[in-house]
């Protein structure tokens, strides 16, 4: 049998994702892909492989998985309670999932989207150049009990590595740039928008994040008669009831609600990960500043592998250490030695 990951159970928002399908905007198909692209990059760094490899995205709740052969895994994004055959697993780290062992991933303790990466990547069939499920377009589906996901060959062996997650699971300050309809909003609306604390509403999905505020809604001079124009992930549309809706990767490609601004790519994971009730504020920055932010973000991304470090086990969880050592035969190098301390 070929190398595969078996789905024993899955929460309602568990899908295969990669970096999506850019290039089909002209045909009405948005890019899609992982809601938190930073988590894809972190998982790739933990496993020492390309961030273009597909992984499993888990919205709010994980599932139970089993490998057909010993397999390297990494877990990133929204921290979730994870165990291998009952032994607690460190989040934001790489591990070995032994053949036949049960990997259980529970509810997110903060944030919205957790990720399960496997060495070699998920190799489910690609459609239109990507393995990413795009549910709004009818591409792919939610994972279900009994699914068998092919996994690519994995030339690497290192596990037991960890990486600090960039903080992004509790809302916070989101930087935005003016966009094509910002001019429809009067100065006092813009000022109030920047001064307002918003909360993430519970409903929402990979298409977008609804927010609400105390006090009056926001309105544009154009009312609701704005001509439909292109939408990009990060756009903040002001809906009919005056509340903001931040569009994510699986958004529609055009829309007629006026958009007050657009979130910087570097801050979009923070919006996607904000759990229900999380507080968010917005601050306009100039395009020059936004370019500088993105340049720094990319430099940080290139340097991320330098921050990998061996997973040091907490002595209070000795049973975990034990179970970890039992499976550490597949690890190599420095990390291997550290785990035995």
């Amino acid at each position: 049998m070929s190398r595969a990951l078996l789905v024993r159970s899955a929460g309602p928002g568990v899908t295969v994702q990669d970096l999506g399908r850019p290039g089909y905007l002209a045909f009405g198909l948005s890019r899609g892909g992982a809601a938190d692209r930073l988590a894809m990059a972190e998982g790739a760094t933990l496993l020492g492989q390309s961030e273009t490899l597909a992984a499993i995205e888990m919205g709010a709740m994980g599932g139970t998985f089993e490998a057909t052969e010993d397999m390297r895994i990494a877990v990133t994004g929204a921290p979730m309670r994870a165990h291998i055959d009952g032994a607690r697993l460190a989040w934001q780290a790489s591990h070995v999932l032994p053949a036949g062992a049960q990997l259980t991933i529970g509810a997110a303790t903060e944030g919205s989207y957790g990720y399960l990466h496997v060495g070699g990547g998920i190799e489910s069939p690609a459609r239109l150049g990507s393995r990413a499920a795009h549910l709004a377009a009818g591409l792919g589906d939610r994972l279900q009990t009994g699914d068998r996901l092919a996994v690519g060959p994995d030339p690497n062996r290192d596990t037991g590595l960890t990486l600090d997650a960039e903080p992004r699971f509790d809302g916070g300050l989101i930087r935005i740039v003016p966009s094509l309809q910002t001019e429809f909003f009067a100065e006092d609306q813009i000022a109030r928008f920047e001064a307002t604390e918003f909360r993430r509403v519970a409903r929402g999905n990979r298409m977008g994040v609804p927010l609400r505020q105390n006090g009056a809604g926001f309105e544009s001079r154009a009312g609701l008669s704005v001509l439909s124009e292109v939408i990009v992930p990060g756009d903040i549309q002001i809906t009919g009831d005056g509340t903001p809706f931040v569009l994510l990767c699986e958004c529609q490609t055009t829309g007629g609600y006026p958009r007050i601004g657009s979130v910087l790519p570097a801050d979009l994971p923070r919006v996607a990960q904000a759990a229900a009730g999380a507080r968010l504020r917005f601050q306009f920055v100039s395009m020059e500043a936004a370019v500088e932010v993105e340049a720094q973000e990319r430099a940080r991304r290139r340097a991320r592998a330098q921050h990998l470090r061996p997973l040091i086990r907490d002595p209070r969880t000795m049973t975990d250490l034990l179970s970890f050592n039992l499976i550490s035969g597949a690890t190599a190098g420095e990390a291997h030695l550290e785990e035995r301390v």
């Binding site: 002209a26 966009s179 094509l180 001509l227 439909s228 370019v291 993105e294």
Partner: protein, 246 residues
Amino acid sequence: MEQRVSPWPRIRTAGFDGLVVSFADHLTEPANRAALAFSDALKAAGLAGVEESSTSLVSAYVRFDPLNVGHAEMRVALERMLAERDWMAADLPTGRQLWHVPTAFGGAAGPQLAEASAAAGFGEADAIASISGQRVRVQTIGFAPGMPYLGELSPAWNIPRQTSLTARVPAGGLCVAIRQLVLFPVATPTGWRHIGQTALRLFRPDEETPFLLRAGDEVQFDPVPADALRELAEEPNGGAAWEPLP
């Protein structure tokens, strides 16, 4: 905003990594042609740094990496292209197709036909004759994969969208509002009124041509009885046939 004789066309930023060239602030025939022609020209020009382009009703969009080509530089390149010709006088794109699409109107296949007809000032039979008698053009593809906005219908059809949503229009559903028709590639709730049903599969991700229609194509909706739809669904392209347009 600076004062100019005409503010159009305009170039505006669209998020961190995009610019939009707009030819009007409302839908007109010349502005739609301009957007299609400019978008085609963008593809042909292969401007350095452009990673993707698309059109909406009266605008063309380019996505680029501002760390590679800056906003100011991209804007200059677009302004240079704008100055090349009078885009509002542009012809329609070449290689267009005329599609004849079998369509069941009214009844269960178009439960809001009566309501939409009344709003447009027609009886149902006259409404069907009016819609099927007009050849409409794909003004843009957008919102959902392969989803066409078609127009422009005669002035009688300038009926508003509903304030409440129709809960579910099936894939292939034909809907009307504001002198436009839309066809939905996937089942969806909508503010447009559902007047008919086709067997078209607008988005076929596993076929060689994943998207059936292209901007600039023309469509004629030919009335068929509702019970014909099931058999049409078995045919390639839902029984629709096309011919090249000059």
